[in-house]
Symmetry: C2
Subunit: 346 residues, 2 copies
């Protein structure tokens, strides 16, 4: 029975375009996934859909699942995350409506869509798929360490949740705008929804984690760039192993170190001081050289979202002067970001 | 159906004593598990059992499952590993005989015992368990990074398969012989069979790997030693992430670096030179200090199994002089091993 609903695995591509589901959220922070999809995959989102009483809007047209289907949508993506990762009772009726309208369901919450009986039954009856982007491929290999063709950039961080995904997305977009072939390679659930494919590194069995990273950025044309979304931090007391496996398997030619201005402690681990950017660069180059001796750090992505424009510019300038490297906030773009891109190209 | 046969999870304890199953092997290298159990858990093994034509002996009494049961055995342990990790047709009849005699089956091969229909049916009918030591606990937490009480020693390596398990077993035994309370903490399948419990680190989902290591060596009396079996190597192109998660989660006060005399390349990765012992010590102390700033290296365990006694002594002496640390081969014991134990105690 448990295999009756097809499960999508990478390297399959998610069914697009999307209809974004906002559930019943009233707090924008919980709608991060939908807002990220609007920002980075807006051309593949036909609109939004929500329960009665939802208060967050993406700015995309509000559509019923049937209207979205008529406009070409192929799946409804759950664009919200509530604490605990559960799927509330109130979502059931709109999710069933989407299945009946001919949309697959795509989710990345802790609770699996296929674990909810009415959704399973409806999906089977309608011939629709329940797709969980937290589900890694079942046939991942052990890493070989073999050097692959093509160019690779990995975003690494001093901590979790400070802009590694957005930095990778902005760098991939910047490279494409300059005429380079570049793919964003997603290693986490929101990134996978944006890219339409990827591998959820945190859900991979430890022995295959570096192998998963190898598969995530396969051999490519010598001039092609894979821009790989980093995970965690080499100094994180819980996730450093994931970060190291991703670093070894990615074999990056270039790393960009991501940091949040003013963050001094590991998020959720108040006893752990954040490593400095300098220390992080040193560690990532030392460890990364194991699978790519040519690894280099192009510069730093500094999250200045807590500062006004003038203070942000001062923070970027000060960090660049201290480190002797380009330092940019990709969300602010500008000359600093262009210099960071220059440095990535080498 | 798939939950009808109880699966044992750590921190449960395996049913002991064991009857060791040697299958139909004729090559001692494939019987490593059985020979390891004889050496390190001999007092919990009542005898051996094999197919017709098996040519490897452990030296323990050869018993039928019924005889073993009468002598107190509670499970039959598959003590052999054939290439591919499959369970051959020829093993089915002896395994069924064990179930019928009242023994649980314990395996650590790639193929799961519970995936074999006749074994499943017999286990259900007889009320017996099919236990797979490659199955990690299903409720592992994310690591907290919180410092735990008690003393911890972790064996780390320049590579896989060079003596991290045996070194940990020998050090734990050595500590007990000196009157210390010490537990061997198993992180791999053979170690788990020997200890009767443990967590197979390589099978844990990456995000929970450091959390698994934290659970493996829980809070203990201040004078108690946990001697933790290491995995992989921080320089291994496929498994470094597992090694780092185990290092961070174990929070060792003391590490012993394991190396095989003469090994110059990573096993199975001829393009990767082995890191030096010096480099390995430096890296493990730098990374390990993140969760235990007091971490120190007590010395080196040098696998000299390829050398005669005189050449081994010269190799140990030369390494000790070069490194300025105790260097011993735990399989040879002697004064060097006593000095290594002294250094662990600090």
């Amino acid at each position: 029975m448990s295999n009756a609903v097809p499960v999508l695995h990478v390297p399959d591509v998610l069914p697009q375009p999307y209809l974004l589901f906002l559930g019943d959220v009233v707090e924008p922070a919980y709608a991060k996934t939908a807002l990220g999809l609007r920002d980075w995959a807006g051309e593949r989102c036909v609109g939004e859909f929500a329960c009665e009483g939802a208060a967050v809007r993406t700015g995309l047209p509000r559509l019923t699942p049937a209207q979205a289907r008529a406009l070409g949508a192929r799946s409804l993506v759950i664009g919200v995350a509530n604490p605990g990762g559960r799927i509330p009772e109130a979502w059931l009726s709109p999710l069933l409506e989407a299945l009946h309208a001919g949309l697959d369901l795509v989710g990345g919450m802790h609770a699996r869509l296929s674990g909810i009986e009415p959704l399973r039954n409806a999906a089977i009856a309608q011939g629709r798929r329940l797709i969980d982007v937290r589900e890694p491929p079942s046939d991942l290999p052990v890493a070989t360490g073999r050097k692959r063709t093509g160019r690779r950039l990995l975003t690494v961080g001093t901590d979790c949740a400070l802009g590694k995904k957005y930095t990778a997305l902005a760098l991939a977009r910047g490279l494409r705008e300059r005429g380079y072939e570049a793919d964003f390679r997603a290693s986490g659930q929101t990134g996978i929804l944006i890219a339409g494919q990827g591998i959820p590194m945190d859900a991979v069995v430890a022995d295959f984690a570096a192998g998963a990273a190898e598969r995530l950025s396969p051999d490519a044309d010598p001039a092609h760039w894979d821009v790989i979304e980093g995970q965690g931090s080499l100094s994180h007391p819980a996730y450093a192993g994931v970060s190291l496996a991703l670093l070894h398997g990615s074999q990056p030619d270039v790393v960009v170190v991501c940091h949040a201005h003013g963050r001094e402690r590991v998020l959720g681990y108040p006893d752990y001081p954040l490593p400095s950017v300098e220390e992080t660069i040193d560690l990532v180059l030392r460890l990364g050289a194991r699978t790519n001796p040519a690894i280099r750090c192009a510069g730093v992505s500094l999250n200045t979202s807590g500062l006004d424009a003038a203070a942000a510019q001062r923070a970027l300038d000060a960090a660049a002067a201290r480190l002797g490297l380009p330092v940019a906030d990709p969300m602010r773009g500008g000359r600093a970001f262009a210099q960071l891109l220059d440095a990535c190209l080498g």
